[in-house]
Symmetry: C2
Subunit: 171 residues, 2 copies
């Protein structure tokens, strides 16, 4: 059975949207995922001074699930061994929250198939689905780049925009 490593933030979870909503509240702005993608350097001037929100208790526990992620990942499990691989160890408080989030929204995965780490290149898998090119570049398998506001300038990887598109490619 082939193995897929699936990232959490901005792949299974709408993390960028969650950040944008918080920044809008903090700064009185009205960014959307689309405008943050189009003008990402400008969005960063609003976001980066508030990056501490990522380290706050509760941030990761309440992120909305990415559209169709639950249904498609459940389907993928019939054909692949699915591991969730999140480079979360920069955020010590996020780990318990991420396990709780997965247990709530993806109870069919199970903790045995979760990985919290820093680097990802030492994971053995046939596919990785991730929004960060740093996680694709040294990866031994095939990388799918999940479209996100912060990766619009990244080229050289197969870009996917939705879980339905991933389902068509992998099933």
């Amino acid at each position: 059975m082939q193995r897929i490593a699936i990232d959490m933030d901005d792949v299974m979870a709408e993390t960028a949207l969650h950040v944008i909503n918080k920044i809008n509240k903090l700064t009185g702005s009205n960014w959307t995922k689309e405008s943050a993608a189009k003008s990402h350097p400008e969005f960063n001037t609003h976001y980066l001074p508030h990056r501490e929100i990522l380290f706050q208790k509760g941030f990761f526990r309440n992120i909305p699930v990415m559209t169709d992620a639950q249904e498609v990942i459940k389907n993928l499990q019939s054909k692949y061994e699915v591991f969730v691989v999140s480079a979360a160890n920069e955020f010590p408080l996020s780990l318990t929250e991420k396990l709780g989030w997965l247990e709530e929204h993806f109870p069919f995965i199970g903790w045995q198939y979760t990985v919290f780490c820093g680097h990802k290149y030492m994971i053995k898998a046939d596919y990785i689905i991730d929004d960060h090119p740093k996680n694709l570049i040294k990866f031994e398998g095939k990388g799918l780049l999940f479209d996100a506001p912060h990766n619009q300038e990244v080229f050289g990887y197969q870009r996917v925009h939705s879980w339905k598109e991933i389902e068509k490619i992998l099933m």
Copy 2:
């Protein structure tokens, strides 16, 4: 550079000893690592009814460091890429504590080289040092079994009893 995956509990940390000390306090017994190794089924009749101690806040944060682990792992880093790989995701509260413990006792490793997971067989490495045969059996590299009270009946792996012994083998 070859890669080593190093387990935390009962390899970097004196977890069995920490458990034994807690069981002695709870039950008024006087187990040692040696007696728990010799009579492990009997020790388990004392321990297993109290296994919830593993899930309690603070348990993992205060475990003593294994003798010589700091010095030898620092030496290993000059020749190997060292990852800490702990099957900790069964214990949601342990993750933040384990990161804090590593930052305190092994600040030269860094969160980028830490992995909290369930299964370990999808980790690509040349060596794994672990006390549980379930983590060695499906592993692609060479396994070193770290001697522990609960693995006395395990055969078929190279058994190591101390970090100084590991240093002699790997350096």
